[in-house]
């Protein structure tokens, strides 16, 4: 609050908060009762970072077992738990919270708002996550172990598991609640708290993509909650939603799950589009090409994402008309996605490019995400999908989309905004090393999986036929390299955040960067935008 406002409200100076702009609450209050959007964003980001390493550790467990044919380390039932929890942790614990964290910090800064619309609910949305994560972790120690049906949790298999499955269902419920609250907050903040003069068509791309993502979340999270609740009642209360013997339909679960699950993959990629749409113009020193078509493309992708869910189910035996419809609709998504890629390339065309770490990760994102898009197009062909469904080709496809796509964009965003958050420049040399090691090891890990899938290796198997051994060995080496490389990222972030090492950052450390966030000092003050800026 400004002096003038204080005086007008009759506050005296010694009243709980002093008049200094950067007053921060004491440690416990600040981090455990946080309402400040930057603190909550930081909590989200650290939480997701922790979960990234936990999920990564599970992935290394998978790759260790698959290093050679034969069973070396785990019993097959434990292997299935590893794959399942790895997926759930990465999707709900790492990628989604990281994007929510970026949204929490950056949206108010970018639109000139003082905080998120519902600051106390924001606290709730974060603090729901650690208990949910804990449920997933302790499910490993329950009798029968964690859920082992893959992240899709298809019944009737999912009804066979022990109490670990119930903990998973509960965790999914809680995470869904958190996501919905977070989304409501983001929507209301963007729609109601923009600075004077910031029309919707002047909104930064990151805010636009998050606005659309938030609507997707609100639409589909209840669907997931419904699906797992039906699973729960089938397991314990004698219902037969998915039990054919009781008049139910196991395929119904798949339809309901993928009605959530397909938009969910766009929930994990649309904010990524936003992040790179901020970064590429900044390091091209040129405005984003085709802002308008970017917005429309994002919206069309979101709408189309509701119409293609059954392309995950071409092998369940749909009627031919349904197969054709879902094939055409799926392929259609590549049109707006293509527009976005063309726009990024056009933004770089005849720019004045420099290649700091955020830009490297953004370029890595565009090219490798596009590669994942192409393999998606191959999978969209229902006829070809018959041979590739549930093989390592699919594993390769979605890791190109979710690792070199979503994760790379999150890392790009962290490097891009880290000076704004901490007031210090990260170590550029280490950052570039991080990029090159990540890219090389990522491709060593996942590129051979295309070949494994084509050659006929099913996914989610703990052991494989001998002709798959060479590529699996390569993939496992890559995975350990990729995992170790991320420790470098941890060190880079810790160095600027906690050890406070690094050059002090200017308010606008990137000369081509545009947006309100760069008009604030670095680090951004604890209470920013006391007086909303005016956008012309």
């Amino acid at each position: 609050m400004s002096h003038a406002q204080d005086a007008a409200l009759g506050h005296d100076a010694g009243h709980g908060h002093d008049d200094h702009h950067d007053h921060k609450p004491a440690f416990f209050q600040r981090w455990f009762m946080a309402t400040n959007h930057k603190d909550i964003g930081a909590l989200y980001l650290w939480f997701s970072f922790f979960m990234l390493f936990f999920g990564g550790l599970l992935a290394l467990g998978i790759r260790a077992e698959l290093w050679q044919p034969g069973l070396q380390f785990w019993k097959p039932e434990f292997f299935n738990q590893l794959t399942t929890v790895h997926a759930l942790v990465m999707v709900f614990g790492a990628i989604m919270p990281a994007f929510v964290g970026l949204a929490n910090i950056m949206i108010p800064l970018q639109i000139g708002a003082q905080d998120m619309a519902f600051a106390r609910m924001n606290n709730w949305s974060f603090w729901l996550m650690p208990p949910a994560a804990l449920l997933l972790v302790i499910s490993f120690f329950m009798p029968g172990g964690a859920a082992a049906g893959g992240w899709t949790l298809y019944p009737p298999l999912a009804t066979q598991f022990g109490i670990g499955m119930d903990l998973t269902i509960f965790a999914v419920h809680i995470l869904g609640m958190s996501s919905i609250m977070g989304s409501i907050n983001i929507i209301v903040t963007i729609l109601n708290m923009r600075a004077p003069g910031m029309t919707m068509m002047k909104l930064p791309m990151f805010c636009w993509t998050w606005l659309i993502t938030a609507y997707l979340l609100i639409a589909v999270m209840p669907v997931l909650a419904g699906a797992v609740t039906m699973l729960l009642t089938d397991r314990h209360f004698g219902t037969s939603f998915f039990n054919a013997a009781g008049g139910g339909d196991p395929v119904l679960f798949q339809h309901v799950f993928w009605f959530f699950g397909h938009p969910e993959v766009y929930i994990m990629i649309l904010p990524a589009f936003g992040v790179v749409s901020e970064i590429i113009p900044a390091f091209s020193r040129k405005k984003l090409f085709g802002y308008g078509s970017m917005v429309y493309a994002t919206a069309s992708i979101a709408i189309l994402s509701f119409m293609v869910w059954a392309h995950h189910m071409f092998t369940v035996g749909m009627p031919v008309t349904a197969q054709l419809f879902f094939m055409f609709a799926t392929m259609l998504i590549s049109v707006p996605t293509g527009v976005k890629v063309f726009n990024w390339v056009a933004t770089m065309w005849r720019g004045s490019l420099s290649f700091e770490t955020p830009m490297l990760f953004a370029i890595g994102f565009v090219s490798q995400f596009t590669f994942g898009g192409f393999s998606g197009l191959v999978l969209a062909m229902a006829a070809v999908d018959i041979n590739l469904h549930d093989t390592y080709y699919v594993v390769a496809h979605f890791h190109y989309v979710l690792v070199s796509g979503a994760l790379f964009s999150i890392i790009a965003g962290v490097y891009y905004w880290l000076p704004k958050w901490t007031g210090r420049m990260y170590d550029e040399k280490l950052g570039k090393t991080h990029f090159w090691l990540s890219t090389i090891f990522f491709n060593i890990t996942f590129f051979p999986m295309h070949f494994l899938g084509l050659a006929g290796m099913p996914r989610r198997i703990p052991d494989y036929a001998l002709q798959f051994s060479s590529f699996n060995e390569i993939a496992s080496i890559g995975a350990f390299g990729f995992g170790l490389t991320q420790l470098l990222f941890l060190w880079i972030v810790v160095k600027v955040t906690f050890l406070k090492k690094g050059e002090p950052a200017a308010a606008k450390p990137w000369d081509g960067a545009e947006g309100l966030e760069w008009t604030l000092p670095s680090p951004a003050p604890y209470h920013s935008w006391d007086v909303p800026p005016t956008v012309k």
Partner: protein, 389 residues
Amino acid sequence: MFETMKQRVACTLSLALMSPLAWAADTLPEGNQPGNYPLNLQAPKSGIAEQIFNLHSMMLVVCLAIFFVVFGVMFYSIYAHRKSKGAQAAHFHENHVVEVIWTVIPFVILIALCIPAAKTVIAQKDSSNAAVTVKVTGYQWKWGYNYLDDGIEYVSALATPRDQIDNYDGKSAAKNAHYLLEVEPGTELVVPVGKKVRLLLTANDVIHAWWVPQLGVKQDAIPGFIRDAWFKADAPGIYRGQCAELCGKDHGFMPIVVRALPQADYDKWKADTKARLALAKDDPNKVWALPDLVARGKGVYEANCAACHQASGQGVPGSFPALAGSKVATGPIADHLGIVLKGKAGTAMSAWKQLSDTDIAAVVTYERNAWGNNKGDLLQPAQVKAARQ
């Protein structure tokens, strides 16, 4: 290996484009399994598989062409328009004509891709006029085959011995050439070459998927539902596949082997198999003595129950209950039989009613008299037959 010129060109192209890695095409003598660095789909051995192969090659070429054009432009920018070379940023940031063009062109390409793909989808779904119909049932973790016209029925399970798989102590036995892709002798799905084979698929417990890549067929087998699929093998040979839907702990150990025979050999196989199965059939009214039933039950147990409950009857704590000293195996025999016949809802224990009366009687008897259970009672096949009603 590749029949048509088109396939050969497509394959060569994809290899040339996609990998700097050496390609060791050491095709195994039978079954046409790919070698150690397989880079492409397995060699197609049915019309549908061939269409899939060609569609994939077409997609690959189109995608790679687009990839090189778009990223050629991007990498040219990266090379030529860098700040360090003194490039000045241009000021354009919109061009409606260009934006419309690059929306329309991909759309046209998609339609061009969709037409052949749609033709294949329609062909895949046409299972009419089959020469042979086989009902395929997925069990945790084996496949049941039932030739509906001939009454031939048997179960096909992994043949790879456990001592080749388990390598926890680093001392596993040398692995077979078809490690994990081999089934017990005489239990392959045998079909006539060049004839349309229709599969009716269902499952007993959870969802499985029946998949043979070279024949271009993959179809989920869903409990409580019947789905159909078809294939037509072009050439005699052995075609191998695996279950493709996560179906529990032994999902990775559920191979499928198809043996395609010329019609005359197929007819002979059919006659031989019928005779063999008739000979092996038990009389459900035979009265058994305890030691004989226990001895037979041990074999049934090892083939069907040991995967979960372990050969030692100790189970896997938390996942699969022990039978040694258990309430079920030492309590009333009718309850014990009930669990075996009907399964237990909400657990991995499925109904085992597909086993013969004698096998069920034997395995129940074995479980009540092994691992120190010493009940001394026995179940006669006739009692099982009665309990089924």
